[in-house]
Symmetry: C2
Subunit: 237 residues, 2 copies
DNA sequence: TGTATTTTACTTGTCGACAAAATTTCCGCG
DNA sequence: CGCGGAAATTTTGTCGACAAGTAAAATACA
């Protein structure tokens, strides 16, 4: 339709019974966060069922799940669409994101065990590699995974789930601007991450709090800079 | 089965098309939070479809939604069960609840408009009435609605959704103990609520923060008192 | 030609049915 | 009498079909 139908022939044969819904959910979720399915685009159940070689039932169940997580919006008796990004209320997003950065990093300092640090450092290595390769998209993904791992180490599932939701929304947001301008994530992030990891390892809760706040401020400032540089009028669609 | 099948003949005829999933979702959600469906009890799709006079499709979609909100757990190829309450990790619940009490009350002080206060005061009136009537179950419900309204006035949907999830979980928790011992919610809550509302109206952010913390501490202390008074060994099932 | 209305086509919501998994029951064997 | 395995029953996951509702197209009318 709108020219961005590149690799939409995802086919899978002989999938195991029971994995259907999860499969559809994962595919759709990825495509939504990638902006392969741009915000506002309608999702046709029949098209999807043909593309994924699957009945409409598991697709509908995946859509229900995506809807309950806010990634799609279901208009009754009408098509469900990919949720729009509400630029007018971005400050609420920044506010929650900042708080979660602080809280999860604090808790990681308190509650992490040895295995957590190993996982965190692995993610940080992947992030460094993405930065070295100047691969903006990989940076976004690995940064997300790193902070998700820190949140996991904090051992509070309520915070973790909210934080992951926010990180995903952020992934979508960053994609918008990495498509328009091919910017680079500031190099300092690698160093900031290293400081955070060291603080977690040292179980320095207050320092983790400060670093979390600082890291969040950085990211928020960067996104805001991108938005203000964008000449389009930011309106919720 | 376990003797608590009291009013399970909820029937509805001639429902409007499109409302099916929401209807099933609301019924199940209520019964789960009421403990009419106790934690761990299996949910049989066929039984449900017979009870609600409905095909299995909308019921499954409702279950998917409940699962994504953590109210039920789906075991692959096996029955889905009502989520258990994880007594071993209650501290994570208390931690998140306390933070959300503080944050939402703060934000309400910042962002509320006139209409919000009207709604909040209406809920507080309902809560007072429930206290006067010594109706513990109504107290739980109206208390929840009051704080949800305060969160709404804070205008941050991310906090609101997490907070509502926590309040619901709390509703289930309180139900357990209000069934065993017919306790009473402390009378002071009415006065605390009034102080919070006054602080919100005065836009005193710091005071709101303190009152939110204090209120949360009260509630957490009460729940912990109930748990410690309970002689059963609290184990996650 | 533009607008209102009917007709058509398409999409969603719901249903009953079938097949794969898993649990339970039943039987044989030690 | 107890245990292991096979048959049977139950329950889930998936499918194709139909009905209700909506948007688009076609037609009628001013």
């Amino acid at each position: 339709m709108t020219g961005n139908a590149k690799k939409l022939e995802t086919v899978a044969v002989e999938r195991k019974r029971g994995s259907g819904v999860k499969y559809v959910y994962d595919v759709l979720r990825d495509e939504i966060l990638d902006l392969t399915l741009p915000p506002g685009s309608p999702i046709d159940e029949i098209q999807l069922s043909e593309r994924l070689k699957m009945s409409r039932t598991p697709i509908r169940e995946a859509l229900v799940r995506l809807a309950s997580e806010g990634l799609v919006s279901t208009l009754p008796n009408r098509s469900t669409i990919v949720s729009n990004i509400d630029f007018l209320n971005l400050h609420t997003f920044f506010d929650a994101l900042t708080l979660m950065y602080r809280v999860t990093t604090r808790l990681a300092a308190e509650n992490h065990v040895a295995a957590d640090l190993i996982a965190i450092k692995a993610h940080q290595a992947a992030f460094s590699k993405a930065v070295a390769a100047q691969d903006a998209l990989a940076m976004i993904a690995t940064n997300r995974d790193l902070h998700a791992a820190i949140a996991e180490a904090g051992r509070n599932p309520y915070y973790t789930s909210l934080f992951c939701r926010l990180l995903d929304e952020g992934r979508r947001l960053l994609r918008i601007y990495y498509q328009s301008y091919d910017d680079r994530l500031p190099h300092e992030y690698v160093e900031e991450h290293n400081q955070m990891i060291a603080a977690i390892e040292a179980r320095d809760i207050d320092l983790c709090d400060r670093l979390g706040q600082q890291h969040a401020d950085q990211i928020v400032a960067q996104i805001q800079k991108m938005i203000s540089r964008d000449r389009r009028h930011p309106i919720a669609l």
